[in-house]
């Protein structure tokens, strides 16, 4: 880790990791290897993030795999994942750093005793002050710095994947505070100065659009919107996530979910619901979908009573559509 000023410039993510991001196709393949089936646009976003050193702002419905993308990127790059969950009221002392107050107090106690002894033979006050200045000022130093997620991510020598989850839940003040971190990969600590990353971490921010993010934040990020997948992509995702599932069941199950998504529901089922449902059906040793089975397990797919009521009468129709050509 380097202080600012004469310190070296930020170098990019360690060489071995970068080779895994050498092309978009390599990323798609690599992510598939760690169980994440990515579309071209997702892979391109990751590629640009690595090569332009910009954070990625990932938006999309709950359960389309925003957080998962960061987890899998960390697995792919073999870097530690550092996670910061945002909530209203989150501030610097919880996100960036805190002083170790207890240790600082102990330190002053020790210092006092120690100083008493070493200053005792000073001829006058001026000489004592002179000697005091000669002792290194450790009180506000990195020794007493309690690193929180953001600082930890900057301090990782080999780079890291930093996930700032649900940034839209944080306050605007915190959003503004993040700007320095996101554009220069550095933070300013008033008592110490600027701490800069030796290796820029790969940053993912996720948002559910609870509120509009500021333009300043958006402009520092690459923007990735993950839509609900189409039939083919979703089948591949299910295949990757639920290995024991039969091809026929997988096809009709994904087809059914796709049909449900055409309705105007309060909460459309997203990928995570599809995967949960597929897992449950495998546990139930089902090898094909029928109306009764769907009715009994529909609560895994839909989270609101009125949605279930809306879908129930149309189960046979959707099943017909799903198993069709």
């Amino acid at each position: 880790m380097a202080r600012t000023g004469d310190g070296p410039n930020v170098t990019r993510t360690a060489g071995t990791s970068l080779s895994r991001l050498s092309s978009v196709d390599a990323i798609i393949e690599g992510l598939a290897g760690v169980g994440y089936i990515a579309s071209r646009r997702i892979a391109t976003a990751l590629y640009m993030a690595a090569h332009l050193e910009k954070p990625v702002l990932v938006e999309g419905m709950a359960g389309v795999g925003k957080t998962e993308l960061a987890l899998c990127a960390a697995a792919l790059l073999d870097l530690p994942l550092i996670r910061l969950q945002c909530y209203e009221g989150l501030d610097e002392s919880k996100a960036l750093y805190e002083w170790k107050y207890g240790k600082q107090l102990l330190y002053t106690q020790i210092l006092k005793d120690h100083m008493g002894a070493s200053l005792a033979d000073a001829p006058n006050l001026e000489a004592a002050m002179e000697r005091l200045h000669g002792v290194g000022d450790l009180f506000f130093s990195e020794t007493f710095l309690e690193a929180r997620p953001l600082l930890t991510a900057l301090r990782q020598e080999g780079g890291a994947v930093l996930l700032i989850d649900e940034i839209d839940k944080s306050d605007e003040a915190f959003e503004a505070f993040l700007l320095e971190m996101l554009s220069a990969f550095q933070v300013s600590i008033p008592e110490i100065g600027v701490i800069k990353a030796t290796t820029a971490p790969m940053v993912f921010l996720t948002s559910n659009n609870v509120r509009d993010l500021g333009d300043a934040l958006k402009r520092r990020c690459l923007h990735l919107h993950i839509p609900l997948p189409d039939q083919r992509l979703e089948e591949r995702i299910v295949a990757a996530r639920v290995p024991g599932i039969e091809a026929r069941l997988r096809k009709s199950l994904v087809g059914f979910v796709q049909a449900v998504r055409t309705l105007d529901l309060r909460k459309l089922p997203s990928i995570s619901e599809t995967v949960d449902w597929a897992r449950a059906l495998v546990l139930l040793h089902a090898d094909s979908l029928d109306a009764d089975l769907v009715r009994e397990t529909l609560n895994l797919l839909l989270k609101f009573e009125q949605d279930i009521v809306a879908v129930e009468p149309r189960i046979p129709e959707f099943l017909g559509r799903a198993s069709g050509p």
Partner: protein
């Protein structure tokens, strides 16, 4: 590999932008025209992204630029459309068979356009068209009306005049071969026209499409609400929602900021007494800010109904900022329409309301009496009352006493009148009498005025 701003920028400054960079600049301009804002910093990012991935793989270029430039899902959709139109360089389609017996005569050889046409040199023609387009300033197009002019200019830059002279001289030369060649050239010239026109149309889509829409929106926002044609309703609604979103965004942010507090010394000291003077419990000053509560009374007689519809739509689109909205409609009686508005869309609700109480002679006195009965307890100092009406009470008792009661009980009374101020007090209008009890009384007959007044209402509640 790493893009190094230091070394690159100086050499780039010497060389000037490359043709590819100029194309990208052009594309960014097209993006701005289709309402995807691109700041200079973002433009630099786009160039960096393009330099990273190169221009060879179009899908890769598109995805890279998309993640760099589009900042919302809607912007991403607009980006995709704009990219596809912009980089849609179709091959030239030559009519018929390629010309077979083309004798190498100096006349035709000397004319590059004729040569390219006769040899079916699609790439050459496309290139010539590109450079002609830039010298004719095709991308400067800002209204559809310039299409013909620009097409003509572009074709001239490609050498159309020389081509026509050639066709003419071949046609009048007399020989059979020359006549055949002239006919062939004339036919190919026609396809050139079609291609040029298509090119200019695309430029117009890219650069002029949005200016037209923006102009239309500006006109609509100044059009009299009572004179809006039914076919414009959709566009007006879109505009209202856009205005409301703009206000909501501005005031939602401000409200957030106002919630933070400062140390309340007095309370902290007082509470510390219980802990022997140690400020154990720290108290913060909290400025509690209520979202404004708004009560709307809408006259739904024929002349005011259109304005009422847009006012309601506007206020309902503001639900992020307005804590509570109570809506009433009146003609000769007054009814609460909250439930109705909760169940259906605003425009359907308006139809239902009109069917129930609309088109009857207005009686302001009775409507106000009904209002007092309905809101005896709910009207308080945090409530802003907005009345929309022309103040024409058909010579019935205006009940000014009730108006005074409303003014005394509420925070502010805002009266919006679709009639111009000079008509107030004329004939059966009691507007002059009512306005004495209003904090604000303004003519309001365009969306622009509506937006301004609503913003005033929001501002009076929220600290700066």
């Amino acid at each position: 590999m790493p893009w190094n701003p230091g070394s690159r920028s100086s050499s780039a400054a010497r060389r000037g932008p490359s043709p590819l960079q100029r194309t990208l600049e052009e594309f960014l301009r097209a993006l701005r025209a289709s309402e995807v804002p691109v700041s200079p910093a973002e433009a630099i990012d786009a160039h960096r992204a393009a330099a990273q991935v190169g221009y060879a793989d179009r899908v890769l270029l598109k995805d890279s630029l998309a993640v760099t430039l589009a900042k919302t899902a809607e912007e991403a959709a607009r980006f995709d459309a704009c990219f596809d139109t912009f980089f849609d360089r179709r091959e030239f389609t030559a009519p018929g068979e390629p010309h077979s017996g083309f004798p190498a005569q100096t006349d035709e050889r000397a004319n590059p356009l004729a040569r390219m046409l006769l040899e079916d040199d699609a790439a050459g023609l496309a290139q010539a068209m590109e450079s002609a387009a830039s010298s004719a300033g095709a991308s400067e197009i800002h209204t559809g009306a310039q299409r013909s002019l620009l097409t003509r200019r572009m074709l001239d830059a490609m050498g159309l005049r020389e081509l026509e002279r050639l066709i003419h001289s071949l046609g009048t030369a007399g020989g059979e071969r020359d006549a055949g060649l002239a006919a062939e050239l004339a036919e190919r010239r026609l396809s050139l026209f079609v291609e040029a026109r298509r090119y200019i149309d695309r430029q117009a889509d890219l650069f002029a499409g949005q200016t037209g829409r923006r102009l239309r929106e500006r006109l609509l926002s100044r059009r009299k609400l009572t004179a809006v044609e039914p076919e414009d309703f959709r566009a007006m609604e879109g505009l209202v929602r856009k205005m409301a979103a703009r206000l909501a965004k501005r005031y939602a942010r401000r409200r957030h900021r106002a919630r933070e507090g400062r140390l309340d010394v007095r309370k902290t000291v007082r509470r510390s007494l219980g802990y022997g003077g140690v400020p154990f419990e720290i108290v913060w000053k909290r400025r509690t800010l209520d979202r404004p509560k708004i009560v709307v009374l809408c006259d739904v007689s024929r002349s005011v109904a259109a304005a009422a519809q847009f006012l309601l739509l506007f206020l309902y689109s503001l639900n992020e900022v307005v804590r509570r909205l109570d809506a009433f409609a009146f003609s000769d009686r007054l009814v609460a329409i909250n439930d109705l508005l909760a169940e259906t869309t605003v425009d359907d609700a308006i139809d239902l309301i009109l069917a129930r109480i609309g088109f009857r002679p207005t009686d302001y006195g009775r409507a106000l009496a009904d209002f007092r009965a309905a809101s005896e307890t709910s009207l308080d100092r945090r409530t802003t009352v907005i009345i929309l009406g022309d103040g024409r009470s058909n010579h019935a008792d205006p009940r000014l006493d009730l108006m005074r009661w409303i003014a005394d009980r509420s925070r502010a009374v805002v009266w919006l009148n679709p009639e111009p101020e000079t008509y107030w007090g004329q004939g059966d209008s009691k507007m002059d009498a009512y306005r004495r009890f209003c904090h604000v009384a303004k003519p309001c007959n365009t969306l622009e005025q509506l937006e301004r007044i609503i913003e005033d209402v929001l501002r009076t509640y929220l600290p700066r």
